[in-house]
Subunit: 335 residues, 4 copies
Amino acid sequence: MEVVEFRPEPEQFAWTFGGVAPIRRVRPGTVLRLWTEDAFCGRLRTTSDLPSSALMMPFVNPQTGPFYVEGAEPGDTLVLHLVDLTPARGWGASTTIPFFGGLTGTDRTATLQPPLPERTWIYEVDRSRGTVTFSALTSEFQLDLPMAPMLGTVGVAPAAYEARSALVPDRFGGNMDTPEMRAGVTCYLGVNVEGALFSIGDGHYRQGEGEACGTAVEGAMDVTLIVELVKGRAPLWPRLESDTHLITVGSSRPLEDAWRISQVEMVSWLSELYRLETLDSYQLLSQISEAPLANVVDVNYSALAKIAKAYLPPATAYDGLHRHLRELAAQIPTS
Amino acid sequence: MEVVEFRPEPEQFAWTFGGVAPIRRVRPGTVLRLWTEDAFCGRLRTTSDLPSSALMMPFVNPQTGPFYVEGAEPGDTLVLHLVDLTPARGWGASTTIPFFGGLTGTDRTATLQPPLPERTWIYEVDRSRGTVTFSALTSEFQLDLPMAPMLGTVGVAPAAYEARSALVPDRFGGNMDTPEMRAGVTCYLGVNVEGALFSIGDGHYRQGEGEACGTAVEGAMDVTLIVELVKGRAPLWPRLESDTHLITVGSSRPLEDAWRISQVEMVSWLSELYRLETLDSYQLLSQISEAPLANVVDVNYSALAKIAKAYLPPATAYDGLHRHLRELAAQIPTS
Amino acid sequence: MEVVEFRPEPEQFAWTFGGVAPIRRVRPGTVLRLWTEDAFCGRLRTTSDLPSSALMMPFVNPQTGPFYVEGAEPGDTLVLHLVDLTPARGWGASTTIPFFGGLTGTDRTATLQPPLPERTWIYEVDRSRGTVTFSALTSEFQLDLPMAPMLGTVGVAPAAYEARSALVPDRFGGNMDTPEMRAGVTCYLGVNVEGALFSIGDGHYRQGEGEACGTAVEGAMDVTLIVELVKGRAPLWPRLESDTHLITVGSSRPLEDAWRISQVEMVSWLSELYRLETLDSYQLLSQISEAPLANVVDVNYSALAKIAKAYLPPATAYDGLHRHLRELAAQIPTS
Amino acid sequence: MEVVEFRPEPEQFAWTFGGVAPIRRVRPGTVLRLWTEDAFCGRLRTTSDLPSSALMMPFVNPQTGPFYVEGAEPGDTLVLHLVDLTPARGWGASTTIPFFGGLTGTDRTATLQPPLPERTWIYEVDRSRGTVTFSALTSEFQLDLPMAPMLGTVGVAPAAYEARSALVPDRFGGNMDTPEMRAGVTCYLGVNVEGALFSIGDGHYRQGEGEACGTAVEGAMDVTLIVELVKGRAPLWPRLESDTHLITVGSSRPLEDAWRISQVEMVSWLSELYRLETLDSYQLLSQISEAPLANVVDVNYSALAKIAKAYLPPATAYDGLHRHLRELAAQIPTS
């Protein structure tokens, strides 16, 4: 396996999906060893570092990429298998940002109330125990939580000549902010432009479903992934596959539309895999789908349809590619 | 423990929460052994029984109740502990209903498209294996799925002199349609009227999150529950507690508002349990909440905030009532 | 014409649509001279009267009614022609109510921010000039605005044994809060129960579209109306007709669903009136519909489809009933 | 006044806001005489021309521009005064497009129903009478409607390095699709990038509020406008001013968020103009705002807050610029 390592300098960060020249060209089959800066550009280091003074909009959520995948054409399926996600710092940061988040008025859900107070929480990382520690700001309350590394952002260049902020999730993937984007998962994305031009970023050491306050335990991440390409067969919306689950991701507003997208896409997937007629898939889905939320805070909200493989007859999505990639991944020395 | 058995005759079914005289008076501490008819009134028995001809609106989702709980006053907390849910028939039914469901235009999401075809699926129950069997209508595809009995509907009389259809979930509980409403769970509901006037119904032998097509594997259910009462301390929205999780349920439209309600209510609960300031609870919640959907098809949509007790320090919600009820439940012979 | 006068005593107020015994029986063709208390029960009389202390929930928005219309059966069309709306007091009141209104978090759009300050504005009525006067609370700014009396609430008993708070707009009409509900307008409502059981209330001396802060210039109203009945032909959602416009009203959440309902109902109405095929109506509607909002603050939001008769060929909705009622109304001495 | 004429060749069309090099540089004060192709690229000429065969996605809604305005910097206010809009063809076209429009499931409001049938309507333009003629496809019904030319799309380059499809309305303006964008109106847009880079397009010979079916009476347009620049004072969202009204435009989903944005922006504008405290503006707005919808079909929905100047004391928004531009416009010979 060809292995490419890349650690962007700050001036190499990408701030959008689309509209950016590729930073590297890679062949399908390549193993990438990447580093991603956190969404705050590493600027929130203590509880005194507040977003309004420490961050410089729109320079948030820097992406590592884009990568030009040789041979990728519109209509193809870009396949990214996450081999390993390892926190690259000893602390993560989370914060409330004025008029941003799920339990506050925002620039869109515009109200006349003053914003919630701006606060920063710092989570200590304990690698040996595999924990991050929540420390309340206004009491002695502390809590060790399991580390659960994930990538908030995985995406390709959008269609229709668009360039979208790295804060946006949509059909091209992007800032979906789902805890399911963890090591061991294969992500399938429809290719919109030659070379696919994918980027990743937004490492989270841990995140709840919905990402209520708008930010996870944000931290720089060491990422190992394998790039693959399936000619044609582009899914309409992002799909994920793990050893145990099939997942589709919809991103839109209102939240029911994100959910509808994910469910309709899963109906399609089930129909493909088991040659089921649409209404039969719809019925089956209705009884077996899990529906965890990803984010209810970003430019689009993201919802998931998630089905346990254990419920289903054996099937090989994308010709068993996930299993193949898992086997390849096992041969890569961890970083 | 006082044990009351009740199996309603069809003319005793309640079709609303509120607006109905109590069918029985019960004391706090009573064990109730109930039977509930399914949401289709048992009229869908074969795949040829279609909703438009077999059902007579508005006579769907019959409730068993209401029960007048002695001593219950507005502002109190009605506590219902589900001891046992056992399917009372050898088959369950599910269906697509014209202009009803999550992946179709509806009377609210009004479009000009014709409805999806009307279909009925019958699931065979295998008690020994604990399964229900999905049989596709248009192919030979069959699938055994784990039985997972739950109640779609648990609620009290609403406030403000309202009477709401048994199809509605709202602050009073009602048709929340969450798979979390299973045996072993304690449900806390704010009391709005003297006697609380609670009802239950809508047995599901299994249901996916979101209940996409609008109906679960619907079936008559034998229900054993314990009624308790906490004076005062009414939660704003329904709360559930299991051995492993704390859960709050919000019901509204659009779906993000259901989610917001559940999250804000959980922020309150965390603050109560751990004396956390609001923003600290908000932050903690953001990193540990699960957010499974309940239904995206009913008059209001229902979303859950769900937190694993394993993440939290020991705490005793409602003075440890759930644990106490679990112990009591263990002493009740199963039906 | 038979004329019935009725001025409810406070203990006769109705607080719901449905669930209340009729206060009077009336025959179709009857002229009703009614008085309606304001939504605040007349308790906000100075800028020092604040909702949280002056109002007693749920006793707000008292309705005058319900009236039992003889001969009205489910499936019929209740016709209410508003002959005259005259402010019954020399002042109107408006207010901000904590966690209520369009530009604030609410009990549904739940956020963690503190509420907006509670305030009351009193508008002086000048009958001779036909104005109400806005007086800013924190500056000398004053503004005379044209009086534009309307009823926020006109509705019948709901279907399915429901009783709904007088704060709710839905298919049964209710608290639609549209400025189009003014004198000279005919309102068509589908009948759900024997006798129709309609009520009116919530006089507004003036209101903007959307009713942003949640309350209009609220004031007691003298109301003259004619009751009529069309057998059968119940519209799915409320319809209004004036000398110049046809209007349909949809009420739901999110707001696009309220709009969709109103548009689909207008497509139906156009198809009925001009024997147009559905897609032709859809196309025509798309080029001529006005879409003013009614309220974006109530339990359901209300949106209107409104078409100028001047654009359309002559047609006689409901056999020319509106014109007939206008002629009858002209013969009634104004109060 | 400097006059610049520009008629783009097809290869000069812009398909996005942002991401495109300027086609011309203009000085503030310049009069532009432009031509815009229709949203269908002129390809729907008969009722047999259907979108799925005649259009080539994403090449729809071609924009004339972008224009680089000398001196424009982020934070400035670009001012576009529409002097004249004259239909440039003798017919306009409208259509239903599969899974696009307000009364159908879409790619976002994803359902399993088949799409509505695809249809094209051609409207004959009669310049002398000032009408466009609707002709039903399935009956003899014909209707002359007043011509009411407007621009669906007016916008600048977005912030944050984004490039957005010309089908999108957002903070940068874009495809707002409001009938208020007519001759005689001044449009204020916040500048995000050097030179502002504005474009216009999407001529509508007539459109209903909401644009229900997704397309107006689309037609090529001759456009005369004056470009001005106000240093600083960028409004957060687009504002319009006519001789009779002040208007703000919000674009988002769900529709209530678009409405909230427009209302909050109008509260700000009223507070600026009359030095009113926020809650006083909120109250005043609540009683005088009109709230017509623009579109409920695009990537974001657009809603307007609209206030009649007749209700307000005299005030000079942007130092009376609108009045000044109206006077200048009167001196320009119409095309």
